[in-house]
Amino acid sequence: MKKILCATRGGEASIRTQDAVIAMAKKEGATIVFLYVVDVEFLRLTARGVRPDVVATELERMGEFLLAMAVERAAAQGVEADMIVRRGPLTQALEEVGQQLGADAVAFGRPAGVDSSFSLSDLEKLAARIEEDTGIETYIL
């Protein structure tokens, strides 16, 4: 059975991506692994009273919750899904998890307007890099 890896978070844009990847998995008879990557880089913006380890643990819990919502969403549409939470830079986490799981594809959500974390060109570059490094097919949905 094919395996699709999908990096996701919460919010409307992520739900659109989750729906698109669930539809894709359903069509191809694939399973999904939702991935949440904890990145505490934003803490560098402030010098005050911050413990990165505690923040990362809290974010891991939040990530598990957001992914559990995605897994329930997939189950409701008859698609088998699992979830993984990782710490560190997104690209590295995607490549490592993709290779460990033997994923057949990595799916990304298309940037939704100015509020997105990535521009379309950045996302295309990221997808190309993952394909080049791991040989895993990438899709921007």
């Binding site: 996701t8 978070r9 919460g10 919010g11 844009a13 992520s14 904890v38 990145d39 934003f42 803490l43 560098r44 913006l45 402030t46 010098a47 005050r48 009273g49 911050v50 413990r51 505690v54 923040v55 809290e58 974010l59 819990r61 939040m62 990530g63 598990e64 919750f65 957001l66 559990a68 919502m69 329930e72 100015v114 509020d115 997105s116 974390s117």
Partner: protein, 468 residues
């Protein structure tokens, strides 16, 4: 490249500005201010810009500024005595060690508390009590954040409460911004209530030599009023979201939420809560023994460390030394401004503007820091504004009741709510929201932050004018 060009332009601008003032100073025939005046002012403006524009880390900028003061004093001052600003011994007298040790003591408490899971447990209790009522839940979370921020480090309170608030928002089917942004605003308001709540409060309270109770008696009422006003404004701003929220998660996910909100270490919680409570009691009665708040915080921290026996190497790693170094650096830089007459010059200008009128001075001391805190870093601003408050208090009739200091605290604390750059909790909350997939633009934060800031600053001004 763009960044280098911007930095170069900023440096050129500053050099031109100071050269202009220097030239005008010479032309006026007074020659009132020496080279050290301009050098110390230049160092402060550079550090302030570096922090506010995020050119470099706050602590690096403050340390660089302090070191520059000493380098100019010792090296340039050896060849040209007019470059002498402040020697090391003198500059240490400007460091408020009460602030440093108070923050250190509270950091130890916060490090222990954060490992117990108490904040998440409290937030989940609020979720249970609200029984799915999104509005009631929002009000409870806002109040919880405000109260926690009054007694513990506001940044850590936000770091621990916001992830669970996002999960709760997802559970009750409401946009997380409806909870998180008001929570952040509440943390800045709650921080004004006590001397340990927020850095500007600690800095001003310590400068005045106030006890925990002296400070609280003056600030708790207006902070509570502002918190109530925030609840009303939040209800208005998010009424549609509150009224259309519908639970959208399964019982399994609610069970996971409950598991996330469990007390993680009961024994540690009991010990921390007991010592924390005793420390708060000591904060209230410590004045009888003439104990400064820093000593009380350190007594509590020492008892806690002795009782809990944590791994001290780990414990010391968890103390946020960067913040402490940042404060020391800022005190040295502002000390240089005082020693070279820059503060006196600015105070003169403000006194001239206020025209010996206490009402005008009070309004200026609320709104100037209030407006500035939304854009620039409020910690160096508060440290620099304190000697100005000293000068105005001494020179304006009727200012002996400390009204100008309270105006400064309220301006600096409440003004930080206007933009997401205004205070550290705002920046952290925006980062946490982005991690959950909700990006908040500068304008989106201001949509909530600016009205709350204007209303709370107006209330604070009115209260100060009526009460003092």
């Amino acid at each position: 490249m763009k960044r280098i060009a911007l930095c170069a332009l900023a440096v050129l601008g500053l050099v031109s500005l100071f050269a202009g003032i220097w030239w005008l100073n010479g032309r006026s025939g007074g020659g009132r201010y020496g080279t050290s005046f301009f050098v110390s002012a230049g160092i402060f403006v550079f550090v302030f810009a570096a922090i506010s524009l995020r050119w470099m880390h706050e602590t690096s900028a403050a340390l660089l500024g302090a070191v520059s003061v000493w380098l100019f004093h010792y090296v340039a001052g050896t060849f040209f005595p007019t470059f002498q600003i402040l020697d090391f011994e003198e500059s240490m007298r400007f460091v408020d060690w009460n602030v440093i040790f108070l923050i250190l003591g509270m950091m130890i408490f916060m490090a222990m508390f954060s490992e117990t899971g108490i904040f998440n447990w409290l937030a989940f209790r609020a979720f249970r009590l609200a029984r799915g009522n999104a509005w009631l839940l929002g009000m409870a979370l806002i109040l919880l954040t405000g109260i926690v921020s009054a007694f513990l480090n506001d940044v850590t309170a936000i770091l621990l409460l916001v992830p669970l608030s996002i999960e709760i928002a997802e559970t009750v089917g409401i946009h997380p911004l409806a909870y998180v942004i008001p929570e952040v605003l509440a943390s800045n308001i709650g921080g004004a209530a006590t001397i340990i709540g927020d850095p500007p409060s600690t800095i001003v309270g310590s400068h005045l030599g106030l006890s925990f109770v002296d400070y609280m008696v003056n600030m708790v009422f207006i902070s509570a009023i502002c918190l109530v006003v925030l609840l009303v404004l939040t209800t208005g701003l998010y009424w549609r979201a509150f009224s259309t929220a519908r639970q959208r998660t399964s019982p399994a996910l609610v069970a996971q939420l409950e598991a996330d909100a469990r007390i993680t270490d009961n024994r540690l919680l009991k010990k921390t809560a007991l010592v924390g409570l005793a420390t708060i009691v000591l904060f209230f009665v410590g004045d009888q023994f003439g104990m400064p708040p820093s000593v009380i915080a350190l007594v509590g921290a020492a008892v806690l460390i002795t009782w809990v026996r944590p791994d001290m190497h780990r414990m010391l790693r968890e103390v946020d030394w960067t913040t402490l170094v940042f404060f020391i650096g800022i005190f040295v830089i502002v000390g240089a401004l005082e020693a070279t007459g820059v503060i006196g010059w600015i105070a003169d200008a403000i006194a001239h503007l206020a025209g010996d009128n206490l009402t005008t001075a009070t309004v200026l001391m609320v709104w100037i820091p209030g407006a500035a805190s939304g854009i620039v870093a409020n910690i160096p601003f508060t440290v620099a504004a304190l000697p100005i408050a000293d000068f105005l208090t001494a020179s304006i009739n009727g200012a002996g009741n400390l009204v100008l200091y309270w105006a400064l605290v309220l301006g600096a604390d409440l003004g930080g709510n206007a933009t997401y750059l205004g205070s550290a909790p705002n920046i952290v909350a925006i980062g946490l929201l982005a991690q959950a997939g909700y990006r908040v633009s500068f304008g989106r934060f201001m949509r909530d932050g600016v009205p709350v800031t204007i209303v709370t600053l107006a209330l604070a001004t009115l209260w100060l004018l009526l009460h003092y």
